[in-house]
């Protein structure tokens, strides 16, 4: 049987039920296709990712992901990426974790990247300085050397985005695994909405695990708007 681990990267600012569902659905999808999922890794981005004022410190984001995954038997938080001094390209984060996963579970285990459809839409984003947010060579490597699972979300058109990218060979799009959460389309739960709710002192219960809510309260996070 084919064996893989799954990697989810993001700000997790804070983590929500939607991030966790994405991994659950990816695992169900792979296991229905006779692939065993040995581990799920959630890796918060480092503080140097950008100077977004809304991004709180990585130490807190890592602890929140730890709290969020506490009740899971297979998903864990990992602090390698967010404790590095500089921003790390997703391709390098994947390479690091594949090494770790293979040392832990065996050299036959692959590592796949799981993303929301909105991340794929960002593949074509141009930064204010005119450079590309993503290098197309990186995207090609992620698809061919690792594997990409994309969770469809409302208002995102990942397949159309990929097909419009002339730098990406047409046959690569077929290698991308598209997944849908028909049990719980919670894409409407976003970290942005949660931050707004916290700063307005509104309840976020049942939108993220209780352990995350406790951590936010104890550390008085996201209170300044």
């Amino acid at each position: 049987m084919k064996r893989v681990a799954l990697l989810a990267v993001g700000s997790f600012n804070p983590p929500t039920i939607a991030h966790l569902r994405m991994l659950e659905v990816a695992r169900c999808h792979l296991e229905s296709k006779d692939t065993q999922v040995v581990e799920g890794i959630m890796s918060p981005v480092a503080d140097s990712y950008n100077n977004k004022s809304t991004l709180i410190k990585a130490s807190h984001r890592l602890e929140m992901v730890r709290a969020a995954t506490k009740s899971s038997e297979w998903i864990r938080a990992d602090g390698w990426e967010c404790t590095r001094a500089t921003w790390t390209r997703t391709l390098d984060v994947l390479a690091h974790h594949r090494e770790q996963v293979q040392a832990k579970f065996g050299s036959d285990v692959g590592l796949m990247l799981v993303v929301g459809g909105d991340v794929v839409d960002s593949f074509t984003r141009i930064l204010p300085d005119g450079s590309n947010l993503w290098k197309s060579a990186d995207i090609i490597k992620i698809i061919t050397e690792f594997g990409l699972l994309v969770l469809s979300r409302d208002q995102s058109h990942p397949m159309a985005t990929i097909q419009e990218m002339t730098e990406i060979p047409k046959n690569l799009a077929e290698k991308i695994e598209m997944i849908v959460d028909d049990v719980c389309p919670v894409s409407a739960v976003s970290s942005t909405r949660l931050r707004a709710a916290i700063s307005a002192k509104k309840s976020i219960k049942y939108a993220t695990p209780d352990e995350v809510i406790d951590y936010i309260r104890i550390n008085d996070l996201y209170r300044s708007s």
Binding site: I17, L20, R21, E24, V25, R27, C28, S71, S72, D182, V183, C184, P185, V186, A188, V189, R193, L194, A197, K202, S203, I204, K205, Y206, A207, P209, D210
Partner: protein, 220 residues
Amino acid sequence: MEKSKVVILAVGSFNPPTFGHLRMLEDAKTSLEASGKEVVEGILSPVSDAYGKTTLIGSYHRLAMTDAAVKSSDWLRADGWECSQPVWTTTLNVLKHHQQEVKSRRGPDVDVLLLVGGDVVETFDKYNADGSLVWNLEDIQEIVSIGLVVQPRPGSDPEETLKNLDFLGWTQNVHVIKNVIAPNAISSTSLRAALKEHRSIKYTTPDEVIAYIKKHNLYE
């Protein structure tokens, strides 16, 4: 001036309860409090078995799951009065029962508000296939006079329906929830389908509910 105290009542199958049900109550509380009310309690009342849908599992289990679902909440509770009735009880009578019970326990100034989705409000002016109205309009008028909280749903316009029906006092007694944080797209139907196919339902309902379902082999 002292804030007026209210209790929110949610009725439904809870077959099984999901984060959608729980979020609806959290959003209702937040929105009512923003409008100056104090929400002192939330009641989840599973419908009785006499309701008669074939997919409905025994109310004993549905009540236990609802109990498990609200375990971590400091203001919600499951109530078994409705589902222990041998016959189906109209929503109006469930509301009246709780209003009486709450007033005798908490005082006459505390009101009970019925929480419904916007899609339910839109059925207020709809007809059955045989030409009769889906709802008894006198019942709705009475529910409105007691108090109604409406959760807007995408594509539904509950305020328009209410405006057209123009129940006495609806502008004062109907509260439409503002600023929904996590729109409810989790349905019990899709959870049952997933359980049947042994797919994961983790993070769609509290872990306590999943543990109960597993222990009793429900929805297999």
